[in-house]
Point group: D2
Chain length 342, copies 4
């Protein structure tokens, strides 16, 4: 039976991406769309690319009748999600795309986000939404916290390697190149076409990016001891994509084997033949992750390049993958579309 879906925060890019994906999903139906700042508008006004769809008019989230909703995607800004989700009816499962429920430790949350968490009890029930590694917990969850898009990319690279014990944990460098949609539909000078196109730069240099909190939580849990990486994200003049270049100490053969072991049966993660390198345009608009491995001129060191689409596999595609599991739908449903190239 078709599942009834609500999306709160439907006027941002991750909300729009959810609608794009669900519009081709055979077992889901969008029943309610909320965006408080644009309540009353048609979706075709907010996002004309959805003009061909017959979608509900935007309402405020308070206006949604959750009695009919099987699952609600919450694509609100950070700090707003934790205010709203406690008001959603208990029978409605929730996939949150914000950062609010990603960090299990309230102290870590406060360190990275600056405020006390407003829904500490609810946090305890949240499952971290990196599907390939939390599949069973997600199936049973009523609240799943989608990962950061950079955090997802770095984890697809490093989890299998930390888990297999094939790299030196004190020498991990993650250099990430992020397309601009990751910054959302925010009106900032540096996101203007005139300023971003033909320019690129590092930001949050020195380990100050909030997705560091996710890296440390997850990597330390796997390793059984504190693990910190040296991480710099860069803003790149492209619309979709994250490319992570990871520099490690470890044998490339063991690293490649660890990836094959981890991802052999994963429908969305493709490990490339040794030495072959992925490009962001090969996953654009899709739910796939491509990973390439190469040894370095310096013995005992390796480089791993990982790409995914930040809006899809890094956010809304991951959210749908989790929703499928939570609703008892086959995991890949609605997510096997090919990338768009060129």
């Amino acid at each position: 039976m078709t599942k009834k879906i609500a999306i709160i925060g439907a006027s941002g890019y991750t909300g729009a991406e959810l609608i794009r994906l669900i519009s081709s999903h055979p077992e889901m139906e969008i029943t309610a769309l909320a965006a408080n700042s644009k309540a009353g508008l048609a979706m075709s006004t907010v996002f004309p690319f959805l003009r061909h769809l017959d979608l509900p008019t935007l309402v405020t989230w308070e206006q949604i009748d959750f009695s009919q909703i099987d699952l609600c995607f919450c694509a609100l800004p950070h700090k707003t999600s934790q205010e709203v989700i406690p008001h959603i009816a208990q029978h409605t499962k929730v996939v949150d795309l914000s950062a609010d429920f990603r960090l299990r430790d309230p102290a870590a949350y406060k360190e990275w986000y600056g405020n006390d968490h407003a829904a500490v009890e609810l946090q305890k029930s949240a499952v971290y939404g990196l599907t390939e590694f939390y599949r069973d917990e997600i199936k049973a969850a009523s609240l799943v916290a989608g990962t950061g898009c950079n955090a997802a990319t770095g984890q697809f690279t490093l989890r299998p390697l930390i888990g297999a014990g094939v790299i030196d944990l004190d020498n991990i460098i993650l250099d990430m190149k992020c397309a601009v949609s990751g910054a959302g539909r925010s009106l900032k000078e540096n996101l203007l076409h005139a300023e971003l196109s033909e320019g690129y730069n590092a930001y949050a240099v020195g380990g100050t990016h909030r997705h560091m909190g996710e890296f440390e939580q997850e990597f330390s849990a796997i390793a059984g001891k504190p693990v910190t990486v040296q991480f710099t994200p860069h803003l790149i003049p492209a619309n979709r994509g994250i490319l992570s270049t990871c520099y490690v100490r470890g044998e490339s053969g063991e690293i490649l084997q660890a990836f094959y072991d981890a991802y052999a049966n994963e429908p969305f993660v493709k490990v490339l033949p040794f030495g072959e390198m992925p490009s962001t345009h090969d996953v654009r608009g899709s739910n796939f992750v491509h990973i390439g491995v190469k040894d370095d001129r310096i013995e005992g060191r390796s480089t791993i390049v990982t790409v995914l689409d930040n809006l899809c596999k890094g956010s809304s595609g991951q959210a749908l993958q989790n929703a499928n599991l939570m609703l008892g739908i086959e995991e890949t449903t609605g997510l096997m579309m090919a990338p768009l190239f060129p």
Copy 2:
């Protein structure tokens, strides 16, 4: 029952777009892929974005066993199609994406393409592939000639207006802005990122573009007398999209009505509310056409803006739409995916 499909010319952009679309089509299966210059290669080598698919290795077209093929898409360069298609088995239906079978008059063909047509007899059986206007003929055809991408865009704008008699036929100006994938995967200096990005220009100025032949054939047939338009295409620094700005003498109200009449029941053509204007990014990666109409400051004149994705609705999406009809499949199957934005 699933239909078996071959694609000749699979190493170009239109071939790749066909594979992208068919990979999500529930009633088609790709059985053979040919590209003579790259025979023996895996598709994932030629187009890594297709890495997740289990596709046949590239062969030469002569190696295809057509006994099993229900329909063959021919995405070869102009002049090559007319050499190859006569060799395809008669029971196999053919959708040609080249220019070879678009012009019904061999003299017109020679005028625009410079050579005598090599398959004049076959040409007689070809149906012009603008689905919305040749639907019945296409259902019955064994050879359909896909339209030029610019030619499609201009016709979505002008056919209903010429047909309804609401514009002056001596004063039609078509100014077209074309994204670069329309030029194919050809290695030319002006298509390099360094030269196209941050630059744009007119080309084939003065009515010398070959798609003029299609305009004159089709518009004259509708009008019952010779019709020529003043047409300039421009190369724009974007990958997908055609935007046509059409300047006519005619009342905007009558024009809008003619569009509503023509497209009321068309699943892929959306006529916008009066004065609203479409953008290419609203149809990217999709099979949709968006049309906007506005009256001008000068009385009795109007401007019509039409957008589509040159690789999809302008080429491979149109081809698949036609193939559906030829194979008795519901016309929209595999083509209702939402555009990719941003």
Copy 3:
């Protein structure tokens, strides 16, 4: 002797472009920079690309001591200029880059901008700043009104043709393709990289763009009777450049001759050999205008393509060219730099 220069509105793109140009000008020195919203900031904070220059800190325009200023560029938003310029000391010459002093008729100003002009007396002394056509008046002026960037482009195309009487005045179509910096540093969703890149669209369709007021004022004055054109601007995913495609009734030979006659001695306007077409990337960052002419397939009709850099020749370069004249400096000083390609 070096002339002392002030710039009001230095935190926008045209202000920054003025600084770029003047920093290489041997006879000008920047003495004061104002931007009321950013007063107190260093220019290297507002525009880090100017980091290598030793520039005055931003102040409010009220803080400028005009006693030392020979010439002031006013790069303020429309409607603000007319409030500020009356307060500038009389001995200081002014080049205004806003729209405020372009239209000589206060009724026309009100029609296009919606408000009564706040400095009608000052307006009477303003000279329209299209250098190549108002050179003598500009030399003698104390207030010059820079043209709209689209308005400049269209006039380089049409003034010589209307003046020479070689085209039909009732059949002029101007289709313009404008890079995004023309919209300034304004925070709007459609100017975000994620929304503009890979998308383009028409705007102000139907003759509603304000630069129409300049076209009508200037073309009617030359023709000695009312002239209106059918004009549509389009937003293109590039940072600098305007390309105008103009469709006229007239013999291409006569048109080309009219251009040669008009521009033979102009250092910045290059008329291309017959049939050759310009690209925006060939004038980027420069003060040059390139014009190409071609006859059409339809007898008696021609197409003219004109390109310039909207921020330079279309705005700040033009302003500097005018300032040179007003200050008795050789007209081309500081403006002969080659375009930046690629």
Copy 4:
């Protein structure tokens, strides 16, 4: 007195950039331009953006009369330079922009380029062209070997740090993001707009990029022992710029001080205030280098971000800076133009 200049290899991007720069240089005059594959063509045909200049027609390099030439820039492909330069008259000074004379050790040359060097004797007289560090040698040289553009970027970052002994030499990671003009005007699929725009990727992963040879030669010489870095370049969808993110073990305060010490009097190198980060668009079209430093979350580690324009400071601007020195002209002449932004 004006110096007479020849450029061999004038049909590529670095040749064109030399012409752009020299066209504003008050003490140089272009006397001969060679490009054997395009001999006989006007430069305005090969590069229409140079249309406003009165330049010599292209000839073959064999046709140049060197008796009148003070200095010749050689912008030929690798391996061709070493064939051509021995034929240039001895009184003509030469700045070579290829890789042919960068590596002092013929064995290192063969390791990285695969062939025996064809002009080993001439190599002995060549000076490595990183102006800021070889100034005196360059003044006295008759042959200067321009550096690789990546090699220059990495050295502006690392030379002062290795020299000052403030970083661990066994833990240096250089992650570089390179705009596409660095690949030259070569016709390759991955350089097409349709494939590069909206996509980015690592290449030459694992220390296989040829600029590694320069790093090892120079860093080892400074350190007095072999130094190797872990280096990955990435192709970014932009036209000009290199951004290097360098991860080191060292105290950020000491690092910043080493930069201040090294670059305090350098006109083209700007060290940013602690924690401030540069963007490629802030140096586009200019000869400037911007460097930013930040400490990391992990104690004792730092990140350094360096940007320059690959075609200008990374190649043709550097070449002109060297030519100035070789000809007794003030070093910064013709090179102080501001960047182009936006």
